[in-house]
Structure formats: C-alpha cells, structure tokens
Amino acid sequence: MHSVARQDGWISLLIGALAIQVILLGIWVVAKSFPEDTLYTINDKLFTKWIGKPISILYILYFIGVGSLIILLFCRMISMWVLPNTPLWVTSSLLISVCMYMVSGGLIVLGRMYTMLSLLLGLLIFFIIIATKEMHLMYLFPILESGWGKVFAGINKAIFSFFGFIVSLVIFSKVEGSHVQKLKTIVYAHCFVTTFYMFTVFASFTFFSTSELKLVPEPVLYMLKAFTLPIIARIDLFFISIWVINVATTLATYLYMASLGLSDLFKREPQSHFIVLIGVIIFIISIYVGLDISRIQAFNKVVTNSGYIFSVALPLIMVPLSYFIRNRRKGESSS
C-alpha cells in the first residue's frame, strides 16, 4: 500500500473502508430478501439454476484460492521469521489440520472460538501501543503530497485486506437475530476492523520514515523487533505467535464457506467429507505454488483480481436483481 500512496496510505485505507461499508449495505439488502438461504442457494434463485450453479462453483474455487493464498503468505512469514529450516508441507499441513478440526465442529463452535480468541486482539493492540512511544507524526506530512490519483490507486491495495466481509453474505441466514440487529453487528464489526487496521498502519507509518518504509517488507514486525520489555527481549516473536491464531481463524472461515458451498451444491448434509476434501485441495495448491516469491505474487494477483469480481462486482449485481425478484414475488402473491 505504501509503495503506491506513500505517506498518504492511511487516507486510501479510510476511503477503502468507506467503500466497503457501502458494499456491505448492498450485501445486507440482498441477504435480507432471502432470509432462509446461504450464498449458494441465493445464487440459484437470482441467476436461475443454469447460471447460478457455475457461479457457486466459481465462488467455491475463489474461497479455496483465498485459503491457499493465506496459507502461502503465512508459511512464508513463518519460514522467514521463525522457522527457516522447516519445510512448507509441515507448517501448511499442521495449520490445515487444526482448521479442519475447528471447522468440523460447525458454525456454533466457530463462533464461540472467535469470540473467545478475539480477546487476544487486546494483546496485539497492547504490543503495538508499546511501539507508539517512538511515534513521529512528522512522517505523515506533507499530507496528500503524492496527489489524489495515487491515493485512489492505494485503495486498490487497501481494499484487499477487507475482502473477508463476504462471510456476512454466506452465513447471514445461519445467524439468529432480526435484520436490523444483524446490520448493526456487521457495521460494528467493520468499524472495529477498520480502526484496528488504521491503528496498525498509523503506528508503522509514523515509526518508519517514508524512505525507510520502502525497504521494509513487514513494518509491524520490524518495528516490534526494536523494542525490549524487561522480561521479553523480542516482542515480534510473540506477536507472530498470536498472529498465527488470527491466521488460523481466517483460514477456518474460508474452509467453512467452501465446504458449506460444496454441501449445498451436492445437497448432502455431512459436511465433514467436504471439509477434508477442501483441506486436501488447499494443501496441494499450497505445495504446488511453493514458497517462491514470484510465484506467490503471481498467485496473489490472480486471487486479488478475482476478489474484485466475487466480493465487489457480483454482490453489486445481486442488489438490483434481488429487488427485481422480490417485486415479482410480491406481484405473484398479490395476484
């Protein structure tokens, strides 16, 4: 993000978050008109069976792709920072098996795990707060030096970190509560994520100067590496360890969505077979791409671009379609 928008990256992040908020509203409108359906059955109803099924399959492929990308980025970070000699298949198979165990418990277990583990975010924030004492607000200035064009180009990069919001469309019907409550939850969640990102970006942008930041691949970790607590010399290692949990929960979410898609597609209830199947597919993809940075980046590009289609374009297409269908349904019921 910084590479494009330089010190104004945080503005891009903010604008990106606002744009996502609009899309979230759209998703809410779509999901509200199908209170009983998951994303996959909504596809069937909106695009008719012949177009809906392929779209569902593409969605599943997209989720698998994101899952593999998460695994790859995570394993790369692990091999660079913590375990340089451990082969890729060990870390990725471990992570995937942990996630499969988590997902096989169903949505309730996932929800409970996430609420419990979200307490750990407090610890991450604490670590970053330690770093803020070295803040130099000077580094943020001059604001808008690189111009609005660059800022908008930065949005492109910033928006990717928000792509997880598509979850709300998949599991909307599985959650209890009124529509307004759900909307509130979605909005609050998004606000929290935005604040957390903003906080992190702010901390790292103010810690490193503009010219330094170009050279640093993982600013937060490098930032934490410089600090020492009286008992712990290297905070970054603990940061990574807790970050692992966040990565695992994200991967578990994608695993859940993909397996839910498969079980909806084949109309079979026991999800556990599908979970194992998708876990194996993700594992194979991650091994195939490997830790080579150029291949990861190519893969990253493919996934990010398809992310625009699946997380932005398709939901936006769904909004007018769902209005149309709802009106038609109303017309049928009244006549």
Binding site: I78, V82, L83, T86, V90, T91, L94, L95, V98, Y101, M102, G105, V109, G111, R112, M113, T115, M116, L117, L119, T228, P230, I231, I232, A233, R234, L237, F238, I240, S241, I242, V244, I245, A248
Partner: protein
Amino acid sequence: MGIFTRIFRNNRDKLADRHMSEPSGEKEVQCSRRLSENVEYILGAFHQTNDLKIRVLKKGEAALLYFESLAEHEKIHEKIFAPLEMGHADDVFQLPNAKKTSDLEEAVRTLLRGHAIYMEEGKKEISQFSVTSSFGRTPEEPQNEKVVRGAHDGFVENMMTNINLIRKRVEHRDLTIKYFKLGKKTNTNVSVIYMDGIADPTLVQEIETRLHSIDSDMIHSPGHVEEFIEDQSNSPFPQMLNTERPDRVAANLVEGRVAIMSEGSPTTLIAPATFFMFYQAPDDYNMRWFTGTFVRLIRLFSFIIAVGLPAFYIAVVSFHFEVIPDELIIPVKASINEIAYPPIIEGLVMVIIIELIREAGIRLPAPIGQTIGIVGGLVIGDAVVRAGLVSNIMVIVVALTAIASFVVPSNELSTALRLLTFPLIVLAGTLGFIGIVFGMLIILTHLTRLHSFGVPYFAPLAPLSLVDLKDTFVRLPMFMMKLRPKDAHALKPVALDPSREWKNRDGQNQSKQGSPGEKTSSTKDTKQ
C-alpha cells in the same frame, strides 16, 4: 352399582408402602400353605447358601429366615421377640412393624436387602422385618478435598447417610431424590438428586434416560456410571464434577445442577460441569472476596504453568534464544552446553520421572511415601544434574510444573493437565512457539467443542458471557452474584434478591439528617 364403584375407588386410593424402586416385570410366585415348601423354595433360590439362617419356632409350625451376614441379632430381638414378650401382640403376624406379602420372589429380594422373614404353617402370608445391620464410618472430612475454614464433614459409603447430610443442608420441599437400581448382578442403588423448579427438567430427563440405558452386570462406583453417561468419551477432560463434600453438592444443587450418588461410594457426581468449576474450591467462598479472587487467579495461572511451562522452556532453548534478555543468556546457555541430549529428551525424561515418583508414592503407606519423595526428589534431582544428564534449569522448570499441576483442586483435571504436557513438549521441541500455539489452539478447539449434558464445557469463556465471569477468574462478593450461572440452565435465573438494603437505608438516613443541617447552614450564610 354405587357400592361397586366405591369399593373400586377405595381399592385404588389405598396407600401402598413406598420403598426403593423394585426391578419391575419380574415374575410373582405365590407362597403355598405348606411351610416346608416355602422354605424349600427360598433355599433353592439362594442355592443352599450357608449364611441363610433358619430358626424353627412354635415346635416346627413356623420359621424365621434371615441372612446372618446381613441381619443384626439385636434388631431381630428388638423388633420381633421383645414386643411378643412384653405382650404387645399375641402373634408375630400382628406386629405393626412388619410388612406383609404373599409373594415368595419379593421375600427373596427383601431377604437380600437384609430383612428377616417370618412364615407359618397353613398361612399364605409372609411377614418381613427390616433388621439390616450397617457398618458405616463417621462422616469425616475427605482426604482429597480439605478446607481450612468451613464444614469438615464428608460423604461416607452409606447412601442414606449421604442423603441425610444433603437434606440437612437443603431443608426445602423441592429437593427431589429418585432411586434407580443399576447393575443386573450387583443391584446397586443409584440416586439422582435435584431441586425441582430450579434444575432444568430436560436435563433431569436426559440424565434419567441415560441412567436407564445402562445395561451392565456390575456398577461399582460413580466413575463407572460416569463412563456410561458422559457425552464425549474421547477426551482427557472430566465432564462431571467428582466431590465428597456435602456442602459442595448442596451449593451445586441450588445452582440448578443434578447430583448422582451410588451406594457404596462416597464420591458424588455433579452434572453438568464446566471447565472452570474444577477450579473452584469451597474455601474460596469462606474467604474475603479479595483473597478469594487472588487464590482463584493463582489457580488459573497454575493451569497455564502446568500445561505450558516445560513446552515454553523447551521452545525457548531449542529455537528462540533471542527471546531471553541478554543478561540471562549466558547462564542459561552455560547450563545447557554440557548436556549431551537435546532439550526435548531432557524434558520428557524429567516429566516422566516426576510421574514415576508420584505414582510410586500414592499407594504406599505414608512413611514409605515420604522416603520415596526424598529419594526421588532430592537424591535423583541432585544426582541427575551433577551427572550431567539434565540441566539444572530443566529441573527447576519440571519441579515448578509438578507443583502447579497439584494446585488444581480436582484430581481428575490435574491428571488431565499432566497428560496434556507431553504432546505440547513434543510440539514445542519440533516447531517452537508455532508448535505451542498450534497445540493450544487444538486444546481450545476441543474445549469449545465439548459439551456436558448439553451445556458448553468452556462456558463462560466460549460462548463468552461477561456476566458469568464474576465467579470464574475472580470471585466477586456474594451479594453481587444475583443471577445463577447460565451454564446450568436453571429455570429460575434469580438466586438473590437485594440483600443489603440496610446500606441504602443508612445512606438515606444520613442524607435526611444531613439535609436539615445544610439548610441551617445555608440560612446562616444568607443571614451573614
């Protein structure tokens, strides 16, 4: 017609004696008029066992049968012969403390329960007298759940004494007790105890159906019952609370949980249980809440040490030396440098040695147990370091872990924790911090997935319920625990109505007293 229905009604309304539930559906054998045939039948039913005593009375016209191993001679005298001698009754059949039947099978069952039966030639009736002898110890404080302050009595092997201890503590009509006979050969009495109107009826129903479905020859302890009725057998964590303390059972009953007792064992099972219940001790509620909270936190901290400390240490020395502050690196490195084995082997060996010492000491008489402790702990610990097999820091770490694992008030959970150390050590030895995080994640997922009788096991942390945290990590003052914990699914959520109104009243009084004073002062002010 009217008379007929009245007779019918009368028959139906007639009170029947209530006693422990009989295994129903058994055949009924009417006794005959001939005494010798009856005696023959009963002897045959018991396969001519030698401790069945037959006393012939009235010159061969009557017989008194009882197990001399089950009945008490004094009671026989007191219940049967003394009233006759005193002239209260002319005949044994007229004694009021007898229970009458004409079913020989029932007589066989009551004989087994320790009753004496009396039969006479030419009568189709049997009198049964309860003359059971019981040898019980006094309700002493259980060895494994001692408290500093509070009640010092504990359950014994006799179920009636145990229920008596509970009824004394919960003097309320809602306390309900249901008996079951389990075990086809042992016929063990098992009782389910709950507060009607507080405990969730579906929970009670569920426990009953699970108990009914047990079809085993023998039930010898609550642990046996536990294995049959618990939700998830493939788990190291205990899903029902074991206790021998009446006060603990009473408190849990009032919270809306269900207790299961069985004859012949002082241990009571409490369901549903959550993970954090195993960290509560009765002592917590006898202390001031500051100290209670402090002790709770220490205990939960011990959980982290017991599970994670050896793994953490191994991960640090084998992967992440840079985590240690600079000043410590040299001493730590120096102590490890001369050890031939990698830290993971060191750790595993030491943890296993501690387990050996513990297991060796547990069943030996106290004096020998102490010797084992000294030999094992001091001699081996010292020698192993000097011989250069294990580093001295590893000894410190493992000893701390052992101590921490004994802090847990429940023996079952403490064993489970020590078991969990091993996989974590292996993960830490192979993948460092990342391995530990994965291991912890698996444990947490497992805890989240566990259910005990339909109640999430890791409540109130997952699902997160901030209100219920008041009695888990901390122990807030009693008057703040207004609601029962949600995890018990109690019918009545409110456990406590405002109990400290006097404080408000005092405050109001003060303000009333204060306000005229203020007025006067203000008037003074205006005057001035």
